[in-house]
């Protein structure tokens, strides 16, 4: 526990006025980068994150090619100017390497890998501005980017953190809550069957706390999923409207 801990919950409200189960505002725009095969930009509370997908494409280096399925490569990275603290060092640190690994596991699960044998699908998550929960927001955006790239998936994954402040279980910790909370538990879920694809946690949770946190994640996920779907619909209804207005 760090010194100078601020009062994170006053009269049942969190510092930014949210209730325990409330998400921050989430805005997703799909198809934002011209060069990428699929992309998405997410503003989740104070987080600003870009996700881009390249592929299926040739595997590099070639000997990593798997003749039975596609290879997924995810890279999570935070810009050196993305945090309120000092200038970050460029290149992936140990935290980023771990997040890239668990994120890769998430998308290996949902992408229909055997449809693209011998190829590679790259997923890039760039955190431009971080305010807590960047890996969850990044995964949520990357899902949309993959769908936007037309890559066949079993499900549209979302991710969000649950946490514990004092004795209360809350959803979607922002940076200051994350710094001083008693627990942080990011999860990524494939919503069709509520399959858990990413689960990390540190802090302290009793078994009862854990049950509650998991159910709050599932509940919050409904909202996140609908924002993801809206973002995708907007891209394609936009295209349809463009052609209709041209009289095609």
């Amino acid at each position: 526990m760090k010194a100078n801990k601020p009062e994170l919950i006053v009269d049942g409200k969190r510092l930014d006025g949210r209730g325990f189960g409330d998400l921050r505002s989430i805005k997703i725009t799909a198809n934002v980068l011209d060069n990428a095969d699929g992309s998405a930009y997410i503003e989740w509370g104070g987080n600003k994150i870009l996700a881009a997908v390249y592929g299926p494409k040739e595997v590099f280096p070639k000997h990593f090619a798997d003749p039975t399925k596609a290879r997924v490569k995810c890279r999570y990275s935070m810009a050196p100017f993305s945090s309120l603290e000092e200038h970050g060092r460029s290149g992936p640190n140990r935290r980023a390497i771990e997040i890239s690994k668990v994120t890769t596991n998430v998308f290996e699960n949902v992408i229909m890998l055997s449809e693209f044998p011998g190829s590679e699908i790259d997923v890039f998550i760039e955190v431009l501005q971080g305010d807590g929960g960047t890996r969850a927001a990044g995964i949520t955006a990357a899902s949309v980017a993959l769908a936007n790239a037309g890559i066949h998936m079993k499900d549209l994954v979302y991710a969000v953190s649950a946490g514990k402040i004092g004795e209360d279980i809350v959803i979607d910790l922002n940076k200051i809550e994350d710094n001083y909370s008693d627990c942080d538990m990011p999860m990524a879920i494939a919503p069709r069957n509520n399959d858990v694809l990413l689960l990390q946690m540190d802090g302290g949770l009793s078994k009862e706390d854990l049950k509650k946190a998991v159910s709050m994640v599932i509940e919050a996920g409904k909202k996140i999923s609908s924002v993801q779907k809206e973002a995708l619909k907007k891209v394609y209804t936009g295209i349809a409207e463009k052609y209709e207005s041209n009289g095609v």
Binding site: E98, E108, N193, N194, D202, G203
Partner: protein
Amino acid sequence: MDAIDVIKTKYVRELLANGKREDGRSINDFRSIRIANDIVSSAEGSAQVDLGSTRVLVGVKLEIDTPMEDNPEEGNLTVSSELLPLASADYEPGPPSPEAIELARVVDRGIRAGSCVDMKSLFIEEGKAWFVYADIYVLNYDGNLIDASTMAVMSALMHTRVPKYEDGKIIREESSGKLKIDNIVTSATFGKIDGHLLLDTTKNEENAADARLTIATDDNYVRAMQKGLSGSLSTNDVIELAGLAFEKHKEIKGYLKE
């Protein structure tokens, strides 16, 4: 995976379909656990853990450094790991792989979140505190490095002596007492193979596994969790395994004696 690994993976799956494991264990048993302490005398603390034929050695060294700005009166703990090329035909020399980084970070998270080391006791004087470095050396890989390493780091810390500090010098030959340990955290890692959940998977079982879940606990709380591999778990799996991890904590704690 080599061809032989593919065959062994198939064997593991076939056995499981008949409710069996390759070494005859039941699904929620650890392999035999042996812990030896103080085996590297140049380190301030050390432990070797044999979990079946998985073997890890942990050495702890203490250095003096400037405390972090946000905790000016506390020391720090850093856990690192090396998957040594001598531990497995699959390990290559070079910079730490994502697997090695994940291993160190997951072990670190459990022990840190459980406040196992009294960081305040590491404070020496303004601008000076002991920094504890625990290095995980994997000597032989046969699955479940996370649990073996958590045990080894915990045990090594429990047997760490703080060097004497006098007139601005570290005197490693003499000790000012034992490192202050406030809590004991252990972990239980489960593999999911064809829907079966197994504790303490061997190398062959790990090769066959679809998903993996590590749960580090102390007596009352889950302290850290990490899901691995690309398979999925149900929310019920997670909650059920957390209950089991608490049971296993009681068991492993018995092996960690000061």
